[in-house]
């Protein structure tokens, strides 16, 4: 069982990454990656909702008939997001001031319904939780990466505003990468998101092509060994 959970984790974060491979959830990806901190905040909030929504969908999967599953899942996810929104606003208000903008956007994240539909509606609760968590981590990773690149190129800083999101202890995360940087507006504006994502996708393809060639070389030299890096 642990082996397959590791597979789920690896798939969610890398092999089947929701942004870098499936190209889902483009709306929050483009809107919220102007800084690494924003990307991280949106990623973490989405991870929490994904893990819970996947578990819930999996736990009621036997009662939901296939014909009406989509409205049931949509209501479930929307309710969950609204509950998180209300709860954060009431009890973690300082965090809400930073994340509040993102929370409502989680509803429109097609990755959540996508995972509910593609995985959680057919899988046990534990595996669905892990899948949601892993997909969320992959989303967080991709968003923070895109945000980091855009922030460095666009404003010359990294993780600015992290102390608002994570608390004063994380003030040292906030770096000025390029001092006295004039800024590169294109990167901060929406086109920068598409540009950075395009280059990252190309980079990932190159990296995987390189790994596949290496694995192919390994399998031909040691016959009978299963292919490792095929994802």
């Amino acid at each position: 069982m642990n082996g397959s959970w590791y597979g789920l984790l690896r798939d969610g974060v890398w092999g089947n990454n929701v942004v870098l491979v499936q190209l889902l959830a483009m709306c929050p990806t483009m809107a919220l990656t102007s800084t690494a901190t924003n990307g991280l905040g949106m990623g973490l909030a989405t991870t929490a909702v994904l893990a819970v929504s996947n578990s819930l969908v999996a736990s009621i999967r036997h009662w939901v008939s296939p014909d009406v599953r989509i409205p049931v899942f949509v209501v479930l996810i929307a309710t969950l997001v609204t509950l998180v929104d209300l709860g954060l606003n009431a009890w973690l208000h300082d965090l809400y001031k930073v994340l509040g903008l993102f929370i409502a956007l989680i509803v429109v994240n097609c990755a959540i319904l996508g995972r509910a539909e593609a995985f959680a509606s057919k899988s046990p609760v534990g595996a669905s939780f892990v899948d949601g968590f892993a997909t969320g981590l992959g989303f967080t990773f991709a968003l923070t990466l895109i945000g980091g690149v855009r922030e460095i190129l666009g404003s010359g800083t990294l993780f600015s505003g992290a102390r608002l999101l994570l608390g004063p202890a994380f003030a040292r995360l906030e770096l000025i990468v390029i001092p006295d940087y004039k800024g590169f507006l294109l990167m901060v504006l929406p086109p920068g998101g598409f540009l950075v994502l395009g280059f990252l996708l190309a980079g990932k393809r190159i990296l995987e092509g390189w790994r596949q060639r290496r694995d192919a070389a390994l399998t031909t030299s040691v016959p009978g060994l299963p292919k490792a890096g095929a994802a």
Binding site: S65, V68, V72, A78, L83, L86, A90, Y96
Partner: protein, 213 residues
């Protein structure tokens, strides 16, 4: 008839949707009920914090958010004025003005003392271009702090403009519309103060809402 009640039958599906909607509504209603008070309290704290940031420290000793006055501006729009008092005497007032920015309205909170001198100005909400117009935000640049100590007499009314228009205030490279809008809105705010000064600095009783408190 038997199929009707099975998992792919209409009755089952309708009741399933009904139950899901009911459970979701109940959860939301419960959550809304339990979070209403904490959210209102948190928003009141936010309001207080955003009001006190345009005042010098230890300027007032009253509850700013509840000591209000409702006036109308030159255009007939209502303006909610928050009064800053120390020992019962009104030392200054805080109110919001709106500028017409490049990408929509710019919400500005300004504090003015009894003599019509600006105590502080902050842009609280805007949708100006990141990296260009958003320098009016105190988090991005010190520009907006330059209003403190200014009044309608200093600089002269004609100098209440950005440098490009022959005025006193800096514009930003690549963004003139935004600072121009803020300067204009703040100047209008001062004109509003001048025409309502008597009512604004009157040490009269608290508003009914705060008196009941």
């Amino acid at each position: 008839m038997k199929r009707f009640f099975q998992r792919d039958g209409v009755a089952y599906q309708a009741s399933l949707l009904g139950v899901v909607a009911l459970v979701a509504s109940a959860a939301l209603a419960l959550a809304a009920h339990h979070t209403r008070a904490p959210i209102a309290a948190a928003e009141a704290r936010d309001l207080e914090a955003s009001l006190s940031q345009v005042l010098p420290t230890d300027f007032s000793d009253n509850a700013l958010a509840t000591d209000t006055l409702l006036l109308t501006d030159a255009d007939g729009a209502p303006v909610k004025v928050y009064r800053a008092r120390k020992g019962g005497q009104v030392r200054g007032v805080i109110y919001q003005v709106t500028g017409k920015g490049y990408a929509g309205p710019i919400a500005i909170v300004m504090g003015v003392d009894r003599d019509g001198t600006i105590l502080g100005v902050r842009v609280t909400k805007h949708s100006e271009t990141p990296g260009l117009g958003d320098k009016v935000d105190a988090a991005k640049s010190d520009w907006v702090l330059g209003f403190s100590g200014k009044s309608l007499a200093e600089p002269q009314p004609a100098r209440w403009a950005v440098k490009k228009d022959g005025g006193e205030f800096d514009q930003f490279t690549g963004a003139t519309i935004t600072p121009r809008a803020v300067v204009k809105a703040v100047k209008q705010g001062l004109t509003f103060f001048a025409s309502h000064r008597a009512e604004l600095v009157d040490d009269g009783p608290l508003t009914t809402r705060s008196a009941a408190r």
